[in-house]
């Protein structure tokens, strides 16, 4: 039982990370039906920005938690700005193009950003200061859940709740939902669609940055390639939960995290990804729009 719980919490913290990144995929997809392959790279850029801020502030001798907070905020701003710019350069000119064209420019963007960071910084792994302190009261639960795991889980829950609130009740949130449902109609009722799309990219990208900084600080290292696998997994999670649905991203992330964790624990980590993808295939066969996705009838 203890072993089961340990694996359960491992999966929970891993799943929360996937969920945080998956939000960006799911939001963008919901609005413009594009798999934003460069999203993993935005996560990576967030982590790098966090590292630079942390480096500057550690040199000044600030306390760890303050550094963490500022690093997260600055990383969010920069990742948001990157997301905005990426959309303007690579996707906006393709809004009326065939459906696969933006997908290819997204793959190009992903390759470009990886190599840009590699050249601007370094190809090697860089140490990232571990800014999350080990809280005293968590000590006795450490074999289940560390402080940083807890922080990651709590953050993703808070973010998820805030985002849901934002989408449901604010003006921009409503505009987003309207655009997602029918872009042309939204335009007709006076929604500035360009603005909505930009806002979506900015929000999705800054959420990825939160994940980037927290995970980097948890793992103690980053390099230019960390976005690729994280992005691929998060994308899987988004589809699993039902792409376009925000609670779906959370659920998908958790299901994916647990699958990997239990597969590792009870079978073999050699095949954890095989199990993850098999689960995905099975779920999509029985629920072709994901766990919480809307099962839409085909219009005739």
């Amino acid at each position: 039982m203890e072993y089961f719980l340990q694996l359960f919490f491992s999966g929970l913290s891993k799943g929360s990370v996937y969920a945080l990144i998956a939000l960006g995929y799911t939001m963008v997809y919901g609005i413009i039906e594009l798999i934003n392959f460069a999203h993993g790279e935005i996560y990576m850029i967030g982590a790098f920005t966090g590292l630079i801020v942390a480096g500057l502030l550690t040199a000044l001798g600030w306390p760890a938690l303050a550094i963490l907070a500022i690093a997260v905020v600055v990383a969010m701003v920069y990742s948001g700005a990157y997301g905005y710019t990426v959309e303007k350069i690579a996707y906006k000119p393709l809004r009326n193009a065939p459906r696969l064209a933006p997908l290819i420019s997204a793959i190009g963007m992903s390759i470009f950003l990886q190599n840009y960071v590699m050249l601007a910084q370094t190809p090697d792994f860089l140490p990232f200061p571990r800014l999350i302190p080990d809280l005293a009261f968590m000590q006795k639960y450490n074999s289940f859940l560390g402080t940083s795991d807890l922080l990651i889980i709590v953050t993703s829950i808070v973010v998820m709740a805030a985002l849901n609130f934002f989408i449901k009740f604010t003006r921009m949130g409503k505009a987003m939902r309207a655009t997602a449902q029918n872009r042309k109609m939204a335009m007709l009722v006076g929604v500035n669609v360009d603005q909505v799309i930009s806002a979506t990219f900015i929000i999705g990208s800054s959420l990825a940055a939160v994940g980037g900084v927290l995970i980097a600080s948890h793992m103690g290292q980053i390099n230019f390639y960390i976005g690729f696998i994280a992005g691929l997994k998060a994308f899987t999670a988004a589809v699993l939960g039902g792409i376009g649905s925000i609670p779906g991203a959370m659920l998908g992330g958790l299901v994916l995290g647990w699958t990997e964790s239990f597969a590792t624990g009870y079978v073999s980590s050699d095949y954890e990804d095989v199990f993850a993808f098999l689960l995905l295939v099975l779920i999509l066969i029985f629920r072709p729009a994901g766990l919480l996705g809307k099962q839409r009838a085909q219009k005739v």
Partner: protein, 410 residues
């Protein structure tokens, strides 16, 4: 008018340069080491960034203007753009035949004109031409987005490598087998995904590709795991053994024949009954079914046909590199093949060929830029897509001219 435009572009470019410099400032300028607590400032980079992005922005806006102005003419949704003068000229048999003859002659003479390196990378490009044309059937014609195409390629490659290792089967014996195995796996993948549409299909095929790779990586007893299989025999020719450069030339001719065959087959397929069914399937599944087309059969056939070519190419690939391991069959490879199809022009055979040449040869010829080549490669993909979203060579649909005199009024 023109000067106004120029002034506007100039202003926009200044803004863009400032914005991009702000954006890239932390990563380009600052380098930190949090262990030694050192910070390196590289302000020179900011200057380059400012100047560089200004120039690029100027070019970008200039091209965007041209694109948008041009777009007003041929961007109309419902008309097939009139064929350009160039393509009419090309379609003229008097021009096309000699050109074709010359091209063929050149291709045949190629290994004798250029070095082994040139031949070698041309083989790679030709392999990708066939892969692109194969995927074009699934994606371009039938509209089924497949992100795990590389799995079939892996199936062919491992089929040859393993059969060669265990039973010393030759290239020619395994070649048809590779195709059959590819088709078999295509159908295997096709069945579970029949109900899925669009991007859900994409992620399941992606998952399938990854599963195949992971199994090859972890199942040591079967596939030798990550250390791969080496010393795979090159193709034989009635017991003649070749040196490396002779073998390269030989494989080149095999590939050349293969490409011609593939072009022929795919061109015929496109205009066949099943090809029409695929096109209908791509445009509207329900309408297609209503027209009496068996959707299931058409989809499975699309997967199987596409996968067959990948299976063939896998065998050639294994024979060419003489060594394979799972590192060659990652998701990025599938993405590259898809990029060939989309960049070249979905559904267009010359487009796919051009796309394969561009994407496979560009990184090779950019070796001179060494570390910058992948950066430029990514940028090229974006630029081509932005300025030619239909692909380099747009697929032209066959237009049937029907006499449209309404029957009732005479």
């Amino acid at each position: 008018m023109a000067s106004q435009q120029l002034a506007k572009n100039f202003k926009q470019s200044v803004v863009a340069a400032l914005w991009l410099s702000f954006l890239t400032m932390p990563l380009m300028v600052i380098r930190v080491d949090t262990v030694e607590k050192t910070i390196t400032w590289r302000w020179m980079h900011l200057l380059w960034m400012l100047v560089g992005s200004f120039v690029l922005a100027l070019v970008w806006y200039f091209l965007m203007d041209r694109r948008d102005r041009g777009g007003a003419n041929d961007g109309n949704l419902n008309t097939e753009a009139a064929p350009s003068r160039f393509s009419i000229w090309l379609n003229n048999p008097r021009v096309a035949r000699p050109l074709m003859a010359f091209g063929l002659l050149f291709a045949v003479a190629f290994p004798f004109l250029f070095s082994m390196y040139q031949t070698n990378i041309l083989i790679s490009a030709l392999i990708y031409v066939v892969l692109g044309l194969g995927l074009n059937i699934t994606v371009g014609l039938a509209g089924l987005l497949d992100l795990g195409y590389v799995a079939f390629y892996a199936v062919g490659a491992y089929a040859y490598a393993l059969l060669n290792y265990h039973f010393h089967l030759g290239f020619w014996a395994v070649l048809p087998l590779g195709g059959i195995l590819g088709a078999f796996f295509g159908i295997l993948l096709g069945f579970p995904v029949l109900r899925l549409r669009g991007d859900y299909l994409a992620i399941v095929t992606l998952g399938f590709g990854e599963i195949v790779r992971l199994v090859l990586q972890n199942w040591d007893a079967f596939s030798f795991g990550p250390s791969g299989i080496s010393n795979i025999a090159r193709p034989g020719f009635f017991g003649v053994t070749y040196s490396v450069s002779q073998a390269t030339t030989y494989i080149y001719y095999i590939m050349l024949a293969f490409v011609l065959l593939t072009i022929f087959v795919t061109a015929r397929l496109k205009d066949s009954r099943i090809g029409r069914a695929w096109l209908a399937l791509r445009e509207d599944e329900i309408a297609c079914q209503a027209m009496g087309i068996d959707n299931t059969k058409a989809k499975l056939l699309a997967f199987a046909m596409g996968a067959t070519f990948a299976g063939f190419m896998g065998v050639v690939f294994a024979a060419k590199t003489t060594f394979i391991n799972p590192a060659s069959f990652t998701f990025m490879e599938s993405a590259m093949i898809l990029a060939i199809v989309v960049l070249g022009g979905m559904g267009s055979i010359p487009g796919v060929i051009l796309g394969a040449f561009l994407l496979m040869l560009m990184p090779e010829y950019m070796r001179a830029f060494s570390q910058y080549r992948m950066l430029l490669f990514g940028a090229t993909m974006i630029v081509v897509m932005v300025f030619r979203p239909q692909g380099l060579i747009k697929a032209r649909r066959k237009i049937y001219k029907v006499n449209t005199k309404p029957a009732g009024q005479a």
